[in-house]
């Protein structure tokens, strides 16, 4: 078995975010890391929308990112610290839209190791030097120079190692132009390691150490080290030189401290706490991330706490000396991993889990009534400030970036009864959890819908002047009339436009000389810019049946198949070209490309004829209307469209000017619902590289529109599709919208790139904002972290298990609130009674949404769970069954027991008072619920106590299999509880997943991979007949066939394990006759071993695996996986040896020609934990399309193919299985 790995959707979680002027113009951009992808985002300052400019997978793990600028430069570089053991400096090239590797310095082994630098990065604010550090010991300093050709050069590294020292965080201190200085939070473990009493470890203090790079001596010295009072988790650098006092802010548990080199006093301020918080009062509070904003006149910091509260931090200074830290509650947003304040007044918040946000900073919180806390305020030791969280006051939400991360469980199924399956994903953590339904397609936002007096046939938009930015008229054609609407603030009917209203229209367009043209069956009307109208009448009894128009040319087909050609001459008159041409059969459709910039005409016309052909006709005056080339079609064409797109296909001459090359594509919509796309040679008119795709049931109509400043094709059949070119890749994506009949591009001030379309008797204006997205999603909120869900097969409802550690149930929360209110009342003195009562009431009525303000943290061993019955299509919750405090629901299964075959029972495995580390619980339960036939409610029948955590349950031949700790047990239904039938004690640690197929049971252990088990009926025993030879920390498994199991582990590997053909599972019959085969075992395991047939490192923890068909009907099966980081991918099998051979060679060449961006070796990344086996990485292969054309060409020659063939192969394999 050979497999091909494809990512359908890249990771959506953000691990790092930095901002800077990466493209070199004034606009600030954001570079984010998504684990193994690096992405460039640009927030549009006018609309506030965040656009993705570039996304590159690096086949490595990004551990740190930092932006820096050389002194006097205007452009920021990016330094990436990754697991490659290399320092990589990237530069963004806006013209080519790529990241270019400027430097790559190797310093250590690859991998996320303890002493290999990469975890921390800091760059001197003046861009003179950078430090890269490991968690332990090693620190390297690189000096940046600017060579005479204004190129960045890097010195060889200087070492600043200190052994036995752990680094918590590192920043560069702003020292203006003195020697560059770096501050590290360190701890030395040497004493702790040597002291058996444990006293030294208790006493070990964290230190703040300054490292100075002496530029004169080219040497790094450990300048100064100072012990800190409490352990800190991160540092913030304070602007220095002319901008501020320099120094660092130390963020530690409960305190914020300002420290500077020299004899300046430390300034210390407690982190304010929420008033009347439900959190465990013993908990400390830490800041999780910060952002600095600096202008010429001032600076401030925004720092976010674990609860999501952002504080604005300012420093009071007298001269160079800081006298006070001031903290002011700013606003509360979901907890972030990184924040960026942009110069344009935006705050980008990359959330830990769930969607990311862009806020506009409306106020700086300078002059409001919010309390300001200062380090100068007198406080008792251990005392702190209190504030009251409230809804947003200073920030305004402007954009939201959807993120699936973390996906905890997913299923692909067609529960909604559409013809293609949907992805059902349980996403998120805590109160921000959601059930998301993903459908393949582009999200359409409906800008306007208006009813028309009848059912129109067609719609167009025209501009008044050819260089106008926006369209002026919408023309709607009916069976016997034409309606003209003008576009302004509103859309209104007009009669003075010059268009003939008493006839249906075939086509209309705006001309290059600012005139308009209308073609109707009886003739052509040319409306001049002055308002003058000139008509051309169809000769005799003929009339126009088909036409094609662009800015300068008009071609019409008259009844009888005669072609007439008009061209605009120099005076702006429509000039009738003398010769006409009679075609051999009826003209079905025709299309003209747009006139290329700077030219007088386009040179080709495409015509679809009734004899199942498409012909390319020359419009060159020398051989006008002669046929150039022909394409035979399987069925008759319905519509044609010629567009200029992309730069995927080029010839040798223009390879150098790659980024600006585009080519002409002829799109042919067929009457059987297929779309053909061929490359039209701009010189000879030949058609090459034809690709076919089936789109829908009805004949395909094509429309040319504009998207992202280039042309795109809208194809309409039973569904609407958009074919467009985006970030050097072609997309053909369905629109998630009802079916449309006719459309045209639309551009107005409110909607610069929209579509106007008709559907029955309505006119709709639509916009497509999320180009490049594969899925559109609907999201339904949940209460706690969803762990697992099952689908009720008869009603398609789902049953979700939501379980949260460190949380209170609703009931406990209410009690806690009551209790606290009571305390408030009691604590008040005589005269304050009234006030206290009011406060207590206010506290009880206070309702801050937990999805923003976060849920109270209850402490370890506190659990809250619910079981929810939900209709995933409508998002309606039918019932929510809450478990009591500290009962953690762990596993769920639907079972039909053999003694009551028509009733579904829901089995939920529950652990009481579960502790995570070390794992122990006071008791476990298997709860049995009866499900009503409509799956609307569940009713508890009985609880079966068990002694350990039931992590996995599964139905098996009318019985229940449960994994209770390490015990595999079989239960049958009883009156008072489930009845234990038999048990197997030979699974080593903890059963995390049980799957059953036929007679076999596949049991996954938490760290020892999969065990194959059979039930021995005669002796009522569960017998392990085979196991795996590798340790795997399984997260999920999927049975592919009777012999084969796919497994995924915590470290991001997917492996496929198969039983060899000679394995015997006939446990009822012992071939040895003396009971030895099943009891004896081999190498401390089962007597028979499974083989590994495929292994692959995905790079993200995989949380679900499913074998399914993504493209119905009769599509091919693939293995779909989802990850915690929010990516969705598939493994697809190769069907022919030839394909496998081709891709193997392509992958090999790509590895050497297109080495990963951040210096990690591709092969070693994919073999991170186990050597990659029998899986070809399609993500690497698909980078072929974004390589430089010259490289593409040379690589294709090595493969003995053309670049077009290679990219067609890539497209074919993707399309056959997925999207």
């Amino acid at each position: 078995m050979f497999l091909y790995n494809l990512t359908l959707q890249k990771a959506t979680a953000i691990t790092h975010a930095i901002h800077g002027n990466f493209s070199g113009d004034k606009l600030q951009e954001i570079v984010i890391s998504r684990g193994k992808c690096i992405e460039l985002l640009r927030p549009d300052p006018n609309t506030g929308k965040v656009h993705t400019l570039l996304s590159v997978e690096i086949f490595g793990i990004i551990r740190s990112l930092v932006a820096f600028r050389l002194t006097g430069g205007t452009k920021d570089y990016i330094i990436v610290g990754s697991d490659s053991g290399r320092l990589v400096v990237l530069e963004y090239m806006p013209v080519k839209n790529i990241f270019e590797k400027v430097h790559q310095e190797t310093f250590g082994k690859s991998g996320c190791r303890r002493i290999v630098p990469g975890q921390y990065l800091a760059v001197d604010p003046k861009g003179r030097a950078g430090m890269i550090a490991a968690i332990e010991k090693q620190k390297l300093v690189f000096i940046f120079h600017r060579s005479p050709e204004v190129k960045l050069t890097i010195s060889s590294p200087l070492e600043a190692h200190k052994s036995n020292t752990l680094v918590y965080h590192m920043v560069a201190v702003d020292v203006d132009y003195s020697n560059p200085m770096f501050a590290c939070l360190e701890i030395d473990y040497e004493d702790a390691d040597a002291d058996p009493t444990g006293e030294a470890a208790q006493k070990t203090q964290q230190t703040l150490t300054f490292y100075e790079l002496d530029l004169g001596l080219n040497h790094v010295v450990r300048k100064y080290s100072e012990p800190l009072e409490e352990h800190a988790n991160f540092l913030v650098s304070v602007p220095g030189g002319r901008d501020g006092p320099s120094g660092v802010l130390i963020c530690s548990e409960n305190y914020l401290t300002y420290k500077n080199l020299g004899d300046q006093m430390d300034i210390r301020c407690p982190i304010p706490r929420r008033r009347n918080d439900l959190d465990d009062p013993e908990r400390g509070m830490i800041f999780v991330c910060s952002a600095t904003h600096k202008t010429k006149s001032m600076f401030f910091f925004l720092a976010q706490t674990e609860q999501g509260d952002i504080f604005k931090i300012t420093l009071d200074t007298v001269g160079e000396v800081v006298t006070a830290i001031k903290l002011k509650y700013f606003d509360t947003v979901p907890v972030a991993t990184a924040m960026c304040v942009l110069k344009t007044g935006f705050l980008f918040v990359a959330c830990e889990f769930g969607n990311h946000y862009l806020y506009q900073i409306a106020h700086l919180g300078d002059d409001d009534d919010e309390l300001e806390f200062s380090s100068e305020m007198p406080l008792e030791e251990g005392d702190t400030f209190f504030f009251a969280p409230r809804s947003l006051r200073n920030l305004v939400l402007v954009d939201e970036l959807e993120s699936l991360s973390p996906i905890l469980s997913a299923k692909v199924a067609d529960l909604a009864g559409e013809d293609t399956p949907q992805f059902y994903m349980a996403c998120g953590r805590g109160p921000r959890s959601s059930m998301r339904v993903l459908r393949h397609g582009l999200e359409v936002s409906e800008m306007a819908v208006s009813e028309l007096p009848g059912n129109p046939d067609a719609v167009w938009t025209v501009k008044k002047k050819s260089d106008d930015k926006y369209d002026a008229y919408i023309i709607v054609s009916f069976v016997n009339a034409t309606l003209v609407l003008s576009i302004g603030e509103t859309v209104e009917e007009v009669t003075d436009s010059g268009f003939l209203g008493t006839t249906p229209t075939l086509c209309c367009a705006s001309f290059a000389d600012n005139g308009l043209v209308q073609i109707f069956p009886e003739g052509i009307r040319h409306i001049w810019a002055s308002g003058r109208v000139r008509d051309w009448k169809a000769p005799g009894k003929t009339h126009i049946v088909r036409c094609a128009v662009n800015q300068r040319q008009v071609v019409i087909a008259l009844t009888g198949g005669e072609l007439v050609y008009f061209e605009m001459n120099k005076d702006g008159k429509l000039h009738d070209y003398e010769k006409t041409q009679r075609m051999s059969s009826d003209v079905v459709c025709m299309a003209l490309p747009n006139v290329p910039a700077g030219e007088q005409r386009s040179w080709f016309l495409a015509i679809g004829l009734a004899d199942n052909t498409v012909r390319i006709i020359s419009l060159d005056p020398s051989d006008c209307l002669s046929s150039r080339s022909m394409q035979v079609l399987p069925v008759c064409a319905e519509s044609l469209c010629i567009v200029e797109m992309g730069c995927a296909e080029r010839d040798q001459e223009d390879a150098a000017s790659a980024s600006t090359t585009t080519s002409l594509y002829l799109n042919i919509g067929l009457q059987n619902g297929a779309l053909l796309r061929a490359v039209l040679d701009p010189v000879s008119g030949n058609l090459t590289d034809t690709r076919t795709r089936y789109l829908g049931l009805r004949p395909v109509k094509l429309f040319r529109i504009r998207m992202q400043n280039s042309e795109a094709v809208l194809a309409m059949t039973s569904r609407s599709w958009l074919s467009y070119y985006y970030q050097s890749r072609f997309y053909l994506t369905p629109l998630s919208y009802e079916s449309l009949e006719y459309a045209s591009g639309f551009s107005s001030e409110q909607c610069p790139e929209g579509i106007v379309a008709i559907s029955t008797n309505t006119l709709r204006i639509l916009a497509l904002e999320k180009l490049g997205a594969v899925f559109n999603q609907v999201s339904f909120p949940l209460e706690y972290t969803p762990r697992q869900f099952v689908v009720h097969p008869e009603t398609s409802n789902i049953l979700i298990l939501e379980t949260e550690h460190n949380a209170y149930t609703e009931e406990t929360k209410k009690q806690r609130r009551q209790q606290m209110a009571e305390e408030m009342r009691e604590a008040a003195g005589e005269e304050e009674q009234e006030l206290a009562r009011e406060m207590a009431d206010a506290f009880l009525n206070e309702d801050l949404p937990e999805n923003i303000f976060s849920a109270p943290k209850a402490g370890h061993g506190m659990w809250a769970s619910t079981v929810r019955l939900m209709d995933p299509v409508m998002g309606v919750t039918h019932q929510q069954h809450r478990l009591v405090q500290n009962e953690a629901a762990m596993s769920i299964a639907l079972v039909k027991f053999h003694n009551s075959v028509d009733t579904w029972y829901l089995i939920v495995g529950v652990a009481k008072d579960l502790q995570l580390n070390p794992r122990q619980c006071s008791q476990g339960f298997l709860d049995t619920y009866r499900l009503d036939p409509h799956c609307r409610n569940i009713e508890l029948l009985h609880r079966t106590p068990v002694d350990e955590v039931p992590y996995a349950v599964c139905a098996y031949n009318g019985r229940l299999l449960a994994g209770v700790g390490r015990m595999l047990r079989m239960y049958d239904m009883g009156k008072k509880k489930l009845l234990r039938k038999c048990e197997n004690k030979h699974i080593p640690n903890l059963i995390v997943s049980i799957q059953a197929m036929g007679k076999r049971i596949y049991v996954a252990d938490v760290q020892e991979s999969v065990y194959m088990v059979r039930y021995k009926r005669a002796e009522n025993q569960l017998i392990i007949f085979a196991d795996d030879t590798h340790p795997r920390w399984i997260t999920c498994t999927s049975v592919l066939d009777y012999e084969t199991v796919a497994t995924a582990d915590k470290f991001g590997n997917i492996s496929i394990v198969r039983l060899p053909p000679n394995i015997s599972d006939d446990v009822d019959e012992d071939p040895t006759g003396n009971k030895s085969l099943w009891d004896r075992g081999l190498l401390n395991g089962a007597s028979q071993k499974a083989d590994t047939v495929a292994t692959f490192h995905v790079g993200e923890t995989v949380t679900s695996l499913q074998k399914t068909t993504l493209i119905p009907p009769g599509g091919w099966e693939s293995l779909v996986y989802t990850t915690i980081s929010g990516s969705v991918g598939v493994f697809v099998p190769f069907t022919s040896h030839e394909d496998h051979d081709f891709f193997q060679h392509l992958e090999m060449h790509m590895r050497s020609e297109n080495a990963p961006l951040c210096g990690r070796d591709h092969l070693s990344f994919r073999s991170y934990y186990f050597p990659v086996k029998n899986v070809i990485d399609g993500d690497l292969c698909e980078q072929y399309n974004s390589m430089e054309p010259a490289k593409q060409k040379s690589l294709a020659i090595d493969l003995e193919r053309t670049p077009a063939e290679v990219s067609k192969k890539l497209e074919d394999i993707r399309r056959r299985y997925a999207f």
Binding site: I135, F234, V288, T337, P406, T785, H805
Partner: protein, 89 residues
């Protein structure tokens, strides 16, 4: 290479390796030392791989920064205080 110096070499190479790479074992490595190194290596790996950090953050329902902080704190003494060493003399 000089065959006479081989014996010497192995020792000096080993010594070099031990000083360069923390955790390189030697003949007298105790179980505890080995364990401490294992734990510190594991913690570093958890800190380096974002999805492992996410995994812990979801399981424990704590912020990622808190998980990182806890892991760093744990690295000081991951397996508790060292056992009493019997006197060699």
């Amino acid at each position: 290479m000089n065959p006479m110096g081989d014996r010497y070499n192995i020792y000096s190479q080993l010594e070099h390796l031990q000083s360069k790479c923390i955790g390189t074992g030697h003949a007298d490595t105790t179980k505890f030392e080995w364990m401490v190194n294992q734990h510190r290596d594991s913690c570093s790996s958890y800190l380096g791989h974002p999805d492992l950090l996410n995994y812990f953050a979801i399981a424990e329902n704590e912020s990622k920064a808190r998980i990182k902080f806890n892991l760093m704190e744990k690295m000081l003494q991951p397996c508790g205080p060292p056992p009493d060493k019997p006197d060699d003399n």
